[in-house]
Amino acid sequence: MSLSTNIGLRALLTSQAALDTIGHNVANANTEGFSRQNLLISNSRPLNLRGLQLGHGVQADQVVRSVDELLNGRIVRQASTIGRLDAQLVEMQSVEALLGEPGGDGFGALLDGIFESLSALSANTEDIVNRTGAVQSTEDLITRFHQVSNEISQLQSDAQIKAQSLSDGVNVLASRIVDLNQEITQIEAVSGTVANDLRDQRDVALMALAERVDIQVRENTEGAVQVQVDGQLLVGASNVHPMSVDISADGQIEVRLEGGVRPVDPSGGEIAGLIEFSRAFASEVGAGLDAYALEIARALNSAHSTGVPLDGGFTQLRASNAVTDVDGDGEVADELLRDAGLPFDVNTGALYVHVIDETTQEVRTERIDVDPSRMTVQGFLDAISSIDGLTARLDTFGRVDIDATSGNRFHFGRPINSAPDAEGTFGGGRATTVSAFDGPFSLAGPATIDITGPGGPFSVTVDPATFETVGEGTAEEIAAALNADANFTGANLQASVVGERVAIQTVGEGSAESFQITGGTALTALGIAPGTYAGQDLAVQVELSGTYDGLANDRWTFEPLGDGVIGTTPGLEVAVRDQNGAVLVTLDVGAGYAPGNAIDIADGMSVSFTVGEVRASDGHAFATDVIADSDTSDVLVAFGLNAYLTGTDARTIDIRDDIRRDPRLLAASATGAVGDGGALLDMIGAQSADVTALGGTLGEYYGEIVGDVGFQIASAQSAQSIESDLMSSLEAQREEVSGVNVDEELVRMIQYEQAYSAAAQYLQVITQLNDTVLALV
């Protein structure tokens, strides 16, 4: 009888336990991370009684949670992926908003605004309102550069602060996991049952952790989990290695775990998203804008540096880029131009410097040949200082400083030298002979020229030992050697340079002047013929005019093809040769030419000659430089001499300070005339010119930056949407396994309710049976 009572009691207790479990499930139907629990029941072991195998009722075995551990692992990993994308996307969208494209107020529109205001100025170069407008529109772009570059740095440092606060959360979660680990192992060891609800809580903590940083989870046999980040232990069996976030030496976010020898590099979770944003995306956009700013500065400066400000030249000019002591020997000026720490490269080329005498308005042009692998900073300074009227030095900051001596101005433009035959070597009044061909002249050893002057014969010796290239004398070197000879100057003779030829002339002018060259060992090498040379009363005046629109710099040498009088001798011609000696054009200046009239040469230039005699037999010639680009070496841009923009990246780019204060310093003119806008036209040309370093125009490059930002965000967005879909499908799967269906629970509740009622009824029957038996007693 007690067996039956026992069966009834067990049935009652089991149903009650089942109803408890159902109640727990219904209660937690909306609890995050809750896994549905089930009471496992079985029939009790039967009893062998009276030869019968009698069933012994039901027994409750265990409460298990309905969970798929592998699925949970996938969800944890997916949470890391989504955490990374979410964090990254939020930051990236801030950058996108910062660029403000497409729209009318991004960098592209502001740069176009500069070109527009420069265009307006080009039609009216003197107008101070237009000048201020040009400076102002540049200021707008500069401000935008500064603002955006600051904002990007700010976003980067915000990302670091966010990562720091996330790491605090990581540490809290890690401690919680350690606590739960301890409770679970304890309970499970003591009771031998599974700590369902604690494990659910630990899963929730792991999930929250995974959202912040991607983790690897390993459970040991006691039921505790170990959590690793990038192979380093964050949560051990009973201890935490706290996470810390710092800024590395290169300004990037650095994550470390206590006790770790190297920083960890998480590949998922919000922290990874922030790191990736800061290290890759923001840095790339920042670097892109830096390159953009640098090339804008280069393009505008390259045109502006050879321009001339409104007042026609400089009395003093200071470079904006400093030379640095790259080789570290304590000496700055000995650096080669190519390794002087300048922000822009110097090329092999030429720089033309013009010095204007303020009283006479006479312009002297000097050419400096620049070879960055040979010329040092000091060499450049010396070359400038060797020009009469200029001195150049480095200031204490290592910036080039050029001063004009009083009464002089200078610039680097491309004025036309309207009086190219200053020495009168082309039919001038002086007795003249010029070498028949261009130098350099090969002189193996000391060589002589025998001259008979007014005071009698003498001999001049030219010693090639002093020349820069052994055995070879340039026209400049030979002229200098001649002018250094006392007999030569004593005979009232002078030597000068005509292009790359040497001219020997009397100092005085007129038909009374003469000298005779009688011989000497240097004549053949120099291309000078022996003979008597006489001056003339009627000197030819040469005037050059026009605007040179050729593509490259050139040196034109003019020489008569025969002897004769301009405008008179039939068939008299003048040949114009380019710097390679090729005849560019032959000008008819004989009978029929009205002296003084301009004759077209080429490339927009023309020349006029007044009446007088020119003699090919005396080697008459003159040479003039025609300049398309007065600084092919870009040495001005490199030093930042007469720059429009200073600075080398988005943060430092700025308008040259004195131009901002005084827009008249904006160098609009190419020739020095105030109404000329040649330099402006070159600056405007930068709008459509290809920039080698950027692989396109400035505008195209900026388009690439914006397009790239757009693409990266769009692709991150689509990745996020795909990963979210995957996550929701994983969560749906998890819900299938672990979720609570209330209806289902209700059905089971009724099922167990009925079972409970039945068991109670059964007990009542047994009780009645007992009563019946007792009544028998």
């Binding site: 176009d112 039609a123 107008d127 605007t547 002296p595 009446v611 914006v706 609570v740 269906n741």
Partner: protein
């Protein structure tokens, strides 16, 4: 297919459905509100790149418009001023023709000269026109007054101080428009065609070419007459202009004295101490007749002369030079003359044809008109005629300049129109890329709204379904 549905799943689905539909609704609303399909770069990166490139094109076009538009007023002003100048020249021309009228006396001519002077002042003002701070006709030396009165060799002349350079602006990629005509082109064009010598002294051009500009004077100074006439007639000196050898023929019967082939001149009584006789060219020799014996005689007298271009340095002539070089000490002008036909001392007007500035010409005409009545009328006429030729040339230069400015104005207009067209086209393209299609947006909006409502309705129904309703 979900195997085991749960309430949580149902609620999640309802929530997700409502959220995604609301997001679509917001997106459509954003497009409708901004009117733009691309609000941020990531909405359509390709479209954004395209939009930027189109905006660059518009930017470039706007640059060109900015330069041509800011050039337009100056071109217009220059053009208007040249038109005025042309009118002034026409008036000066008619005054000069009036001044050539032989019936005018010196006072009348003075009145004409004054009027011309006033007009010349007006022309000078036109040539020095400023637009804002810059001179319109100074080339690119726009801060320099282009035409300045200076004193050269004691005479006030107008000199050009501007340059010959052109002001250019870009009217498109690689396309330049020249904005200005230089003062030298329109008021002081140099197109030398040869030297013209007025022609009353008998001097002609030498063989060698000359160089110089504007006008000049060849001064033939009489250096004294030598020789003997005979019959007691002596040379009185003073007022002699005949250069070279002259035969003097005294006809006792007719009582006349004849110089060269000139008209025989009646010898008055009483015999004068100073009798000026002219030859066929008007060259004169003065004789002292007081000692005349009354006999007929024939003699030869010779006038010596020297020539100068600047009035400072005189070169004696042998009357045999075919290529005598004369130089102006101040201006550097060089003239070669043939003296073989020189017969009379005096002053020659020298014109470097094609080179005088319009001011030189006008000032010359004024000084010609002011020549005294004593001057040979033919000489005045000759001079004025030469000036008139130069004035016509100047008028032509001015009209050419006017034509150039007209062409420039037209090019600016054409460029502006072309740019406007291009701007419209590019903006159309830009709108295609950037702007929302409103019909599409409206449809999207409606669709999103309906889907949302559907999701809400089904969700609401689903949420109410529970077994509890029936327990």
């Amino acid at each position: 297919m979900t195997i085991r549905p749960t309430q949580g799943r149902i609620f999640d689905l309802i929530r997700a459905g409502i959220q995604s539909n609301t997001a679509q609704l917001i997106r459509a609303q954003e497009q409708a509100a901004t009117g733009r399909r691309i609000v941020r770069a990531s909405d359509d990166p390709v479209g954004t790149s395209l939009s930027l490139s189109l905006r660059r094109q518009i930017g470039a076009i706007e640059s060109f418009v900015a330069s041509t538009e800011s050039a337009r007023p100056e071109v217009g002003q220059a053009s208007a001023r040249l038109q005025e100048g042309s009118d002034v020249l026409a008036e000066i021309r008619s005054l000069m023709i009036q001044g050539m009228n032989g019936a005018l006396n010196q006072r009348d001519r003075e009145a004409v000269a004054r009027q011309i002077e006033l007009l010349e002042g007006q022309l000078l003002e036109i040539a020095n026109t400023r637009s804002g701070d810059s001179y319109l006709f100074a080339g690119t030396a726009t801060n320099t007054q282009p035409f300045v009165e200076t004193i050269v060799d004691g005479e006030t002349v107008v000199a050009y101080r501007g340059n010959d350079e052109q002001q250019r602006v870009l009217s498109g990629r690689e396309a330049e428009v020249v904005l200005n005509v230089t003062g030298s082109e329109v008021f002081a064009n140099f197109d030398y065609t040869g030297t013209e010598i007025g022609g009353t002294t008998g001097i002609t051009n030498g063989t060698t070419a000359d160089s110089g500009s504007g006008y000049g004077r060849i001064l033939v100074r009489h250096d004294g007459t030598t020789g003997a006439v005979g019959a007691g007639i002596a040379l009185a000196g003073g007022g002699d202009t005949a250069v070279g050898d002259r035969t003097v023929t005294v006809d006792a019967t007719a009582g006349t004295i004849q110089l060269g082939a000139g008209e025989p001149f009646d010898i008055p009584t009483p015999l004068p101490a100073s009798l000026s006789v002219a030859d066929e060219n008007g060259a004169r020799v003065t004789f002292d007749m007081t000692g005349w014996t009354g006999a007929a005689t024939t003699g030869t007298v010779t006038g010596a002369a020297s020539i100068s271009l600047d009035g400072a340095t005189y070169t004696p002539t042998t009357l045999a030079e075919t290529d005598l070089r004369l130089e102006h000490g101040t201006t550097g002008a060089v003239v070669h003359v043939d003296t073989t036909a020189l017969h009379t001392a005096g002053e020659e007007l020298l014109t470097f044809s094609g080179t005088p500035s319009v001011f030189d010409t006008i000032r010359g005409a004024v000084s010609d008109l002011r020549m005294s009545d004593e001057t040979d009328r033919t000489e005045i006429l000759l001079r004025l005629e030469a000036r008139l030729g130069e004035l016509d040339r100047s008028q032509d230069d001015l009209l050419i300049g006017l034509g150039q400015l007209g062409a420039t104005a037209q090019r600016i207009d054409v460029a502006a129109t072309r740019l406007e067209d291009l701007e419209v086209t590019v903006e159309g393209l830009l709108s295609n890329v950037e702007d929302a299609d409103f019909a599409e947006v409206a449809l999207d909006l409606q669709r999103a709204e309906q889907t949302l409502q559907l999701a809400q309705a089904t969700g609401a129904r689903l949420m109410q379904q529970t077994l509890l309703n029936y327990l």
